[in-house]
Symmetry: C2
Subunit: 429 residues, 2 copies
C-alpha cells in the first residue's frame, strides 16, 4: 500500500486535531479504510506550533505555497479560513491536480462556483464536510444516501455560539450582553462576535447546504441574515408561554418558483425535535419527498469534531486517489431563482410599546387591517416604562412585505413608543 | 450516458417505492447524480403487482432467478427478505458479478460474513443502508465520514413498532396488549409481532451496526435480546417519576476486552436526546473518540423511507459501475470477542411484590447484600393484591451476574410474591 502524503495549511486547533487523529489512528485507518495517511508538510505563521505538534523542520514551513507545491503532498487540507490567501491556495492546489479538503465556509459560500468549476475541469476532488455542522456528517449523506429524493427543505441550527447564548437566555433569563460575556469567557464566542451573533456564519452554512440540497448555486450574498442582538429574554419567555422555543434558524425551502433561504431568530414549536437542541450542539433537519423527515445532530464546533470531518474527507479522497477512481463532483447546475424575502409567507410575533391609554389598540389594529394582516392573538403585558404598556401581537400567516409595511406605518403612530421586537414564527408542519 | 439496468426481487411496498422513485426522479438522478437508472426486470410471486406497478410482461416474472440471470440487469435489488431463497439469490448475483442492494437485516446479521467474503472475492458491491433505520443514512456515514474515529458506542432505537407501543404506553397508560392491538390496527405491527416485540428485529440491526462501527463481526446469535412483553405501564410511570424514559434500546459498546452488545427495555434519562424519539421514529446515537456524540433521527419504516435508502445505494453502485471505480468493501476484520451479558455493569430497577408484613425488607435486603449489590433507592408503592405490597428497588452500578444471583435467590424467599419486572438503567453519561 502506497502512503498518501497530506499537506496541512493552517495549524490552529482543527489542524492540530487532524494531526492528532492521524497520529492516533494511522494503523486503524490503514487496516479498516485501506489508506495510509502521512502528514508530509504543514504550514503556519506561528512557528511555535511546529514543536507543539511534533513537526520536524523538514515538515514545517511558514509559506503555505511550499506545502501546495511539495511533491510529497498528495492531498491539501486548507484550514487557514477567509477568502484571501486561502482562495489562492485552493486554486493552486487544484491547478496542481491535488485534491483539496477544506473547512472554509466563507470561501465556499462566496466563491464556490469558481472553485467547483476549476476542480471539475481538472477532475480533482474538492471536499468540505467540516464547513457545516462541525463533525456531523450531513453533506456526505445529502450527496450520496439521499440522492433518490427531491429535498424539500433544510432547517439548521448551525451556529453553536448563538445556540449556546439562546439556551442560556432561555434557562437563566440572561440578557444578550450577559450571555455573550459568558460565551466569551467559555471560549464559545470570539472577541469580535459579529460573524456569529449577526447570523453571517449561519448564512454561509445554509448557502452551502441549500446548494447541495437543491442542486443549485446559493451564495452568501443570496441569504438575508438577521442575528440575535435585538432579542430580549422577555421575548423568549413570552414565546415559551405560548408553546414556542426561540432558535437562530437557518432556513432553506424549495418552492415552485424558487428557493426561500434566510437566517433569523425564529419561534419554533417547543415539542419539535429541533427545539431540544441546546447549548453548543448543532442540528440539521431535512425533509425529502420519499425519506420524510431526518435530523442530524452533534457537536457543531470544537477541534475534535471538525478534525473528524476533515479526516473523513481525507480518507475518501485518499481512497479515490489510490484506486484511480473518478471523482464525482458537485452538481449545483439547476440555477433556481432565489425568492426575495418580501414574498415569504409566515406568521409573526411583534412586541410593541404603546401609550397606556384608551383607543391605542384600535389605532394599531387599523394599520394591521390596512395591509390585510390578520391577528391570531393579542396580549397586554406589564411595562416598566411609565405611561406605556407592552403588547404582544401574533399574526396568522401573512406576506413579509405586508408585515414590513405594517411595521413601517406603525412606528409613525403617536401612540407607538417602540417596535421592541419582531420574530418570525415557523410551525414546521 | 449508458443506462444502468436494475432488477428487483420482491415487489412489496418497498419494491413498489423503489419503482416509484425511479419513475418520478429518473431525470433528476441523471442530471444531478450522473446515473440513468432503468428497471429492466422485476420478480414477485403475486402477479397482481405487475400491472399495479406498470410493469410489462417482458419486465415481469415470477422466477427471481430470471432477474438475476437477465443480461439487461446490471444491479440486483433484493427485497424478498428472510434467509432462505434470498440468500441463494444474493450469492447468485454476486457470482454473476452483479452489485447487490439489500434491505435484508436477517440475512446480513446471520450470514454477513459469507456474503461479504463472496462479494470481496468478486470485487462486487454489496450495499444495505435500508437494513437499519429505514431511510436514515447511518451505515454510509459510519463507513465514510466517520472513518477518522474510533467508535466507542452505538445506541439505537431501531424498531419503530415497539417504539410506537412504548410511546402509547407512556402517554396513554395503555397495557402491552392494548398497545399491540392499536399498533396492529394502524399497520405498525404484524399479525405475528414476535420479531418486533421480542427484540429480534432490533438485535439483527444492532449486529449490523456493531459490525460496521467496530470493524468486527457481530452476528444475530451474539446479541442477547429481551423484548417488551413483560413491561407494565406501572414501570413506565415509576420510571418517569424518577426522571427516566423507557425505550427498547439496542446497545453496542466497545470495551478494552471486547464488545458489549444487547437489546432490552432500558431506562434512560428523560432529558437525553434519545428520550424524545417517539412514535414510529428511529434514531441511532453514536459516540466517537474525536467527533463526540452524534444522533441520526428519522423514519425507521415505511415504503418511502426504505425505498429512499435503497435508491441511495443504487445510485452509488451505479456510479461505481459506470465509472469503473473499484469497490471498497466491508472490513469487519478485527475479530473482537463478544462479552457475555454476565460481565455487564449497569444499574438495575426491580419491581417486587412482597408480603405486606414487618421484616420483609430486611430479608430481601440481605439477599442484595449477599451479592454485594448496593441499593440506591427503595420505595414502597400501593398494591391491588391483598396482603401484598409493591416495592421498587434501584441499585447502584453492579455486575449483571450478581444481579441475576440476587433475583434467583429472592424468588425463593417466602415473603416474595413475584419479581414483577427488572429493567436495566443506563445513565448514558
Amino acid at each position: 500500500m502506497k502512503t498518501i502524503g497530506v499537506g496541512i495549511l493552517g495549524l490552529g486547533t482543527v489542524g492540530g486535531g487532524v494531526i492528532d487523529i492521524i497520529n492516533r489512528h494511522k494503523d486503524k485507518m490503514r487496516d479498516h479504510a485501506g489508506v495510509d495517511l502521512v502528514v508530509t508538510r504543514a504550514a503556519d505563521l506561528n512557528t511555535e506550533r511546529f514543536a507543539q505538534l511534533g513537526l520536524t523542520s523538514q515538515q514545517a514551513t511558514t509559506d503555505a505555497f511550499d506545502v501546495v507545491n511539495d511533491p510529497s503532498v498528495d492531498i491539501v487540507v486548507e484550514l487557514i479560513g477567509g477568502i484571501g490567501i486561502a482562495r489562492e491556495l485552493v486554486h493552486a492546489a487544484i491547478a496542481a491536480g491535488k485534491p483539496v479538503i477544506t473547512a472554509n465556509k466563507a470561501l465556499l459560500a462566496s466563491h464556490g462556483a469558481e472553485l467547483f468549476e476549476a476542480a471539475d475541469a481538472k477532475g480533482v476532488d474538492l471536499r468540505f464536510e467540516a464547513s457545516v455542522g462541525g463533525g456531523i456528517p450531513v453533506l456526505e449523506p445529502l450527496t450520496h444516501s439521499l440522492t433518490g429524493n427531491e429535498i424539500l427543505s433544510v432547517l439548521g441550527i448551525v451556529n453553536g455560539t448563538t445556540n449556546y447564548m439562546l439556551s442560556r437566555m432561555t434557562e437563566a433569563g440572561l440578557s444578550f450582553d450577559e450571555a455573550l460575556v459568558e460565551a466569551q469567557d467559555l471560549g464559545y464566542a470570539e472577541a469580535d462576535p459579529s460573524a456569529d451573533v449577526d447570523g453571517l456564519d449561519a448564512a454561509a452554512k445554509i448557502a452551502i447546504l441549500a446548494s447541495l440540497a437543491f442542486n443549485s448555486r446559493v451564495t452568501l450574498a443570496d441569504v438575508p441574515a438577521e442575528g440575535i442582538r435585538k432579542l430580549a429574554p422577555t421575548d423568549i419567555e413570552y414565546a415559551r408561554e405560548i408553546g414556542y422555543a426561540v432558535k437562530l434558524l437557518a432556513i432553506a425551502r424549495k418552492h415552485a418558483h424558487g428557493i426561500d433561504v434566510r437566517v433569523h431568530p425564529t419561534m419554533i414549536p417547543a415539542d419539535h425535535q429541533l427545539a431540544s437542541v441546546d447549548g453548543v450542539y448543532n442540528a440539521v433537519y431535512l425533509t425529502g419527498d420519499f425519506v420524510g423527515d431526518l435530523m442530524f445532530f452533534g457537536e457543531g464546533a470544537g477541534a475534535g469534531a471538525a478534525a473528524s470531518a476533515v479526516v473523513g474527507d481525507l480518507v475518501e479522497a485518499a481512497r479515490a486517489l489510490q484506486s484511480g477512481n473518478k471523482v464525482i463532483g458537485c452538481t449545483c447546475t439547476d440555477n433556481l431563482p432565489i425568492l426575495p424575502l418580501d414574498v415569504l409567507e409566515t406568521r409573526y410575533y411583534v412586541r410593541l410599546l404603546l401609550a397606556d391609554k384608551a383607543g391605542v389598540i384600535e389605532q394599531v389594529g387599523k394599520v394591521f387591517a390596512r395591509y390585510n394582516v390578520s391577528l391570531q392573538s393579542l396580549k397586554q403585558r406589564g411595562c416598566a416604562q411609565k405611561g406605556m404598556a407592552e403588547f404582544i401581537f401574533v399574526t396568522h400567516k401573512t406576506i413579509e412585505a405586508d408585515m414590513q409595511s405594517v411595521l413601517a406605518d406603525i412606528i409613525n403612530l403617536d401612540v407607538v413608543g417602540e417596535v421592541a421586537s419582531m420574530l418570525r414564527v415557523e410551525d414546521l408542519d
